[in-house]
Assembly symmetry: C2
Homo-oligomer: 291 residues x 2
């Protein structure tokens, strides 16, 4: 079991906080430095034990790190990696947790980071509608997929190190090309978010009291942070628009079957969707096995 002396986490939100807490509880890091913008959230992270030290000064925070994880919103990741590389020890490995990967990975591939620092992109596919360190959960990544996006420049040792780290946090590590990753998550992650947003927006206030468990589940993602999701949708817009178009075609087929009163076609569409949904696996909303 590889353990780190000092890990720096830039952006101690739900994901950053959960990584810190998970590593500390498993003895994977001696020190975890939390770097953020607001003292309040950093205090919460420290109180929860997600980090051992905190600072709002990125340069100071990464000065001793032997691993830096940038956990800021996708729109800020590239700039944050560059700032980290200027201030951390030479040859430090830097990773991220961005929900989109192509733009970040391509930007990093085109430059050489100072001090022979290396970047390897990661995307833990875990999330919740809580904002900030307060929701940190050491087991957030248990059974979740974490995608690593190596390029021809990636060193095998770096890949192994991150693969081991995420495995120790309970995740299932999958290797993927960054562009392929973005096409996949447009369908499996960004599309359900867009759908949940449009769904919630469709309910007029007079019927809020008639909202049951079905609507609550189906629209749950709409409670996510608007700024974070604006970045994701725009960063991955081409794939997201393709995914939404694909969804729109399935919705149109459903409309046509209902309008035409076509029982056989309707049952066929419902059965097909049911089969797919069942193939997704019987995981509960917590990612655990359903009862």
């Amino acid at each position: 079991m590889k353990s780190f002396d000092t890990v720096a986490i830039v952006g101690v939100g739900l994901i950053g906080g959960s990584i810190g807490l998970g590593m500390r509880e498993r003895g994977l890091a001696r020190e975890v430095i939390g770097i953020g913008r607001t003292q309040k959230n950093l205090r919460t992270a420290r109180r929860l034990g997600a980090v051992t030290h905190t600072t709002v000064d990125l340069a100071k925070g990464v000065a001793e790190a032997d691993l830096v994880l940038v956990c800021t919103p996708v729109g800020r990741v590239v700039e944050d990696i560059k700032s980290v590389a200027k201030n951390c020890p030479p040859r430090t490995l830097i990773s991220d947790v961005g929900s989109t990967k192509r733009a970040i990975v391509e930007a990093m591939d085109q430059i050489s980071l100072p001090g022979e620092c290396r970047f390897l992109g990661a995307h833990p596919m875990a999330g919740r509608e809580t904002v900030g360190a307060i929701g940190s959960d050491p087991n957030l990544f248990e059974g979740k997929v974490v995608v690593l996006t190596p390029t021809p420049k990636t060193q095998a040792d770096d890949f192994d190190l991150l693969e081991q780290l995420w495995s120790q946090l309970g995740a299932v590590v999958v290797q993927m090309d960054a562009a392929e990753h973005d096409r996949a998550v447009a369908l499996t992650s960004h599309l359900p978010h867009a759908v949940a947003v449009a769904l919630a927006a469709s309910v007029p206030e007079e019927w809020f009291r008639m909202v049951g468990t079905g609507m609550l589940d189906t629209s749950r993602l709409a409670a996510g942070g608007p700024e974070i999701w604006k970045d994701i949708f725009l960063d991955n817009s081409e794939n997201v628009l393709m995914a939404m178009d694909r969804f729109g075609r399935h919705l149109t087929r459903l409309v046509a079957a209902i309008r035409g009163g076509d029982e056989a076609d309707l049952v066929a569409l419902l059965s097909e969707a049911r089969e797919i949904r069942e193939a997704f696996g019987n995981r509960s909303p917590d990612g655990n096995k359903e009862k």
Copy 2:
């Protein structure tokens, strides 16, 4: 607390079974007769304690009932109520649990049931993706909305009786006109189902492994029974199509904001949806308060 001597439940699926189990656990009925089509499911219901007696003979099953609850799919409810009224004691109250109400209530309003039996429509807004009596839960209705749809013909005593029964099962009883009910549930219940179906159908098999908690939640309803939902969509097609059209307009706005790279508009749409989703209340997928 009103309790019944003999309650007959026609169709002992998740809802019928949960009513039987809930009534028996709360001492609301001495005998619960389960009437169904297959011995296997009826045996399950009896084994779970959801019913005390079972039969596949509807006439025999309702012969002694002082309350009959028809819990069959919406497409069969009207015929089942007529069969019940021909065979139950005079002046028996008959209710149902159909997810759509206008067609059923209008059909009942136009006829006089034999033996001065009365019908009063009900819709417990609770459900799960389990089929049959096996999923019966005595607390399924705790905190859930149950809509009663009286008409000018409805007797006050009948309304009070059903209101009391559902309240004793833990439900929040809401009174509504049947047509208004159908417009409301088209948006709050049938639309999320349609959306979940189109969403599940949009995911190609190669990306199943990339499905995370967000997609699982948002598509959960797609696992529902195709036959049941075919009936609901066709019975309430006009309202469902209006709801889907409304959803489509919100989706189109989202597509336009993403395509146009309009950050301000995108944040506005996401914020609006988030506000609505939060106003739905903080109930978990089980209908209980979220942690």
